[in-house]
Symmetry: C2
Subunit: 448 residues, 2 copies
């Protein structure tokens, strides 16, 4: 087979001819082709009679969305003029399933595509935007640390300064929403859209959701003037529309579904019907477009080109999920190791096993942590709803020792917010800002 | 005012007359009446012109559901015959909002009703069943420990031996579903229905959901022959129907909503339309009615009257929710304190920050915990869906050191199951049973 990844090929089997783009890193016993519909298909090697290169890769700077030979010819002739009109998007590649393939050593899936591979897999994007792909990291997102958030934020800043119209960040889904929350705090005056995308099925599988998420993010950037950090993932399990989700109020709510990402105590910001190429804004102004213009103008006036970021994090911050029968040693560990902040993920309206007897060891441990200078923020394992200090005697007891009520913040958001505040502000300022809405992470009211 | 809690009273204000049952512990500036509709209403004391006792409490062993004078007369005359036909239900009272009132010392809500108060508040129940109320504890459920589960299980066993047809357990909502899961494991041959109920608003408030939950549970016991442990809570925010939820696959998913309890990866077992007094079974056979009959017959034949329970728990079991930037000391604490079991609540399909570098301190700590004899069960913070060892290289790494994949078990269910298994079985038996479905806590397949 002379065909190379990215080539448009005609694969002949005993039954049919299949026209599509050959996907890279073919080590399986099947060829994977990306069809004009956007779907991938796998064809078993032993059924393949012939593979013919219809069009070699690398010649098509602008490619039509559903490439047929007629459209392609047109695209090639109008390449320069059309391409110039398209917005410039930088794709920052951090790893995860969206950029992963099967690891034939173990049979599992590992992150391993290069940025060029990644771009070759989604040729349709070239009809939406001028693309620059940058490999900034290559890890599954469960291993993301604060240092990775800093690396990403600085890369965002750099690309923005270089003049791109928008940034797409490819990210593993496990902690994608946590990184989105972290970036929303770190990037204080976003002048362009910064959209995180992931995939629940790896990009070289026929069932991948990567293409729709990535292309919808690009379309959102190209068709709107919204700015700021957000997430773009499938709206439903169908492969036809995506939603733009708020960075600090979104959570991965299913291990495998394509529509696992849900706004919690909030709504999607926009909907992208990819078939119709339509973007509908559902919550105008959320992404602070007007603010951004003012900020950007001010920055320009001041001679600055870079977006302002605050990128420090306090490393000594943890999450403790309470559970029945819990003993104080699991709180004490945060005291012994000099932690500065702790998110206490309580039950219900914000409770913890701290009340019976009145001087419960857990209660005493929390008091000690706070007395030694730590900040404790309370969130709820319920996921939905708001913690409330004023309903029960037991919550008041926690309030009385200085526990801060996290309102309707997600546990993960409260965690990165706390680490970010303690990294960039003094303790008293951090305490004040914790229960204040900074990036849409706290709603005014919770629906009952 | 001569009226006492439980009396049916006619309250006259400048605008209207209100007929209802006076609720107990009136220390507020308002009277609270339970209306015939089941709803409570609060009437400001300064608007009250007159309170007349229409019918004193304590004379009505059987009370019609919507008591009018005509119905009441009839009920009184037919009391003995009708009451005899009704099923006997024991209400075990453990505390929580369903049995709580405002604490005027602090303004919060505390658990403090006696069993008699509780019964006086829900007089309608007497038309559904012969009721025995037992005060076995009085605490908010965030403070429930394994010792409380044991107390409840033994009380259940005792009441069952005394011949009741069903048991209702009043419980705080925070950990109600966890206690339900624990009881479902402990009670090995339930011969009667054991239904946990709670309330999101305290029982002396006009907006309480306690009445519908309690009465629907009683109706479910009276109208069906299903047996086993289950939960009865509001189906929607409307005050007209309840659902019976599976004990080991239900979660409190909102801090305040009346319909906060949701089956996760499962469906409700039954629906109770309380207005129409109709019970619809949605999942016949789930509660092992046939098994129970056989078990009960066998027990009777063997001369035993008691339901079999296994009520031991291993105290040294914890839950660790992983988070970005996590350091090994939060795993080490479980090693240092000799824990025997740990539920690792990972991200996505079952991941943890353990992979970069390859000998990550967290990875080494988990290896050490397992090498020292501990069992680790992996669940997912996604809540919905199933963990899977076989998709990613990173999950395989955890599997290789002996981490057990918790399938689609809820974290809380995996926690009580692990503690219960280690308390009642040897370690190897516990390991085997962990990933096996015992009480509906593991589904065969997860919908994608």
């Amino acid at each position: 087979m002379n065909a190379k990844p990215g080539d448009r090929v005609i694969v002949t089997t005993k039954k049919e001819e299949v026209d599509g783009i050959l996907m890279p890193n073919q080590e399986t016993e099947a060829l994977v082709l990306k069809l004009a519909s956007g779907y991938n298909i796998g064809i078993s090697q032993d059924k393949v009679v012939d593979v013919r290169v219809a069009e070699a890769a690398g010649r098509d700077a602008v490619k039509a969305d559903k490439p047929g030979q007629e459209e392609q010819k047109k695209a090639n002739t109008t390449e320069t003029e059309e391409a110039k009109k398209l917005p410039a998007i930088a794709i920052l590649h951090t790893g995860g399933t969206i950029a992963s393939k099967v690891d034939y050593a173990t049979g599992g899936v590992i992150a391993s595509f290069t940025a060029d591979d990644f771009l070759a897999m989604f040729p349709e994007i070239k009809s939406i935007a001028r693309i620059k792909a940058v490999l900034i990291d290559n890890l599954m997102s469960e291993d993301m640390r604060f240092s990775h958030y800093q690396k990403i934020a600085r890369a965002v800043q750099q690309e923005a300064a270089a003049g791109v119209d928008g940034i797409i960040i490819g990210h593993g889904t496990d902690t994608l929403a946590v990184t989105a929350a972290a970036l929303s705090f770190m990037i204080e005056s976003p002048a362009i859209p910064i959209i995180l995308v992931g995939a629940q099925r790896s990009s070289d599988r026929p069932s991948t959701d990567a293409a729709l998420n990535l292309l919808s993010a690009a379309l959102f950037i190209a068709k709107t003037d919204a700015v700021g950090v957000a997430i773009c993932m499938h709206e439903t399990v169908d492969d036809d529309a995506c939603v733009i989700l708020p960075p600090a109020k979104t959570r991965k709510m299913h291990t495998t579904r394509r529509d696992a990402f849900k706004a919690v105590g909030d709504t999607p910001l926009a909907r992208i019907d990819y078939e119709k190429k339509e973007v509908t804004m559902l919550k105008q102004g959320y992404l602070r477009k007007e603010d951004a213009k003012t900020d950007a103008a001010a920055a320009k006036a001041a001679g600055g080109k870079k977006m302002a970021i605050r990128d420090k994090f306090e490393e000594k911050v943890g999450i403790l999920r309470v559970y029945p029968n819990m003993s104080r040693e699991v709180i004490d560990v945060y005291i012994r190791h000099g932690y500065k902040g702790l998110v206490l993920e309580g039950t219900g309206l914000g409770h913890a096993p701290t009340n019976i007897p009145e001087n419960h060891p857990n209660y005493e441990a929390l008091k000690e942590f706070i007395a030694k200078g730590g900040l404790v923020v309370l969130t709820s394992q319920c996921i939905f709803g708001r913690v409330n200090r004023d309903v029960y005697t037991n919550t008041r007891r926690l309030g009385n020792i200085g526990v801060i009520y996290g309102e309707d913040m997600l546990t993960e958001t409260a965690f990165v917010k706390l680490a970010w505040l303690l990294g960039n502000y003094g303790k008293e300022e951090a305490r004040k800002l914790l229960a204040k809405n900074l990036r849409g992470e706290i709603s005014e009211r919770t629906e009952l």
